[in-house]
């Protein structure tokens, strides 16, 4: 069984697009992980000019990498066909407060269901002061490993 630490090693992202530093805990029903938005991340130079704020889409990506993909890898670890390949299929997120560069966030995701290859989670992100910065639901579908995501019909 995969430990919480090597879940990150199984992620399919390159270093500039991996928004997970650490998984605190994972179970069949929920996962908790963290990420620090390093000042060196390239988008801060452009979003916004002279006013760096973490883009909302990147907050969604961070929650999806922890709440859907890491949890999805954990839940599909017995299935070599689909293991690790979760394609985002729906996001419904409220953005409550900005996340500035250098901030460390904690993402919690609770499984609503994982059936017929589809994972739905309630997700939330908190900053270091415990303030909830965004929350909502994310859904993804497990797809076969050999499928190239950009050519598959999900």
């Amino acid at each position: 069984m995969d430990s919480k630490n090597n879940l990150i090693d199984l992620l399919p992202y390159g270093p500039e697009f991996r928004f997970v530093d650490l998984i605190h805990s994972v179970s069949e029903s929920e996962i908790v992980g963290e990420f620090t938005f390093r000042k060196s991340l390239s988008f801060y130079q452009h979003h916004f000019l002279q006013n760096p704020v973490t883009p909302g889409v990147i907050l969604v990506e961070c929650m999806a990498q922890i709440g859907l993909v890491c949890l999805g890898i954990y839940l599909t670890q017995q299935n070599t066909e689909t293991r690790g390949n979760i394609a985002l299929s729906n996001a419904n997120i409220d953005f409550l407060h900005p996340v500035l560069l250098g901030e460390k966030v904690t993402v919690r995701a609770a499984k609503v269901y994982f059936r017929f290859g589809k994972l739905k989670c309630n997700v939330s992100m908190e900053n270091e002061t415990g303030l909830r910065v965004c929350a909502g639901t994310l859904e993804g579908v497990a797809i076969p490993n050999k499928t190239k995501i950009h050519t598959s019909k999900i």
Partner: protein
């Protein structure tokens, strides 16, 4: 429950997950859910979960594999609600 009664309860569930470019009035029992009504695989799961709640039944993996058309759904529901 008759086929007509099942279809009457099933139709609004399917219509809720149609893409915006598919006319809700175009649904009929012969339509293929994914190929003709363009319901994607993620929303097909939503349809099945809503059907489970509405009819108080449970779909197995093999039911999902046999589910292609609206008629397939009606047949699966009919079998499960009469057994």
């Amino acid at each position: 429950m008759t086929t007509e009664q099942i279809y009457a309860k099933l139709l609004p569930i399917i219509q809720a997950y149609l893409p915006t470019d598919v006319d809700p009035d175009s649904v009929n029992p012969d339509k293929d859910l994914t190929n003709e009504l363009n319901i994607n695989s993620a929303h097909l799961v939503d349809v099945v979960l809503d059907v489970e709640d509405q009819f108080d039944i449970e779909f197995a993996n093999e039911d999902m594999e046999n589910l292609r058309t609206v008629n397939d759904a009606i047949e699966i529901i009919r079998k499960k609600t009469t057994s």
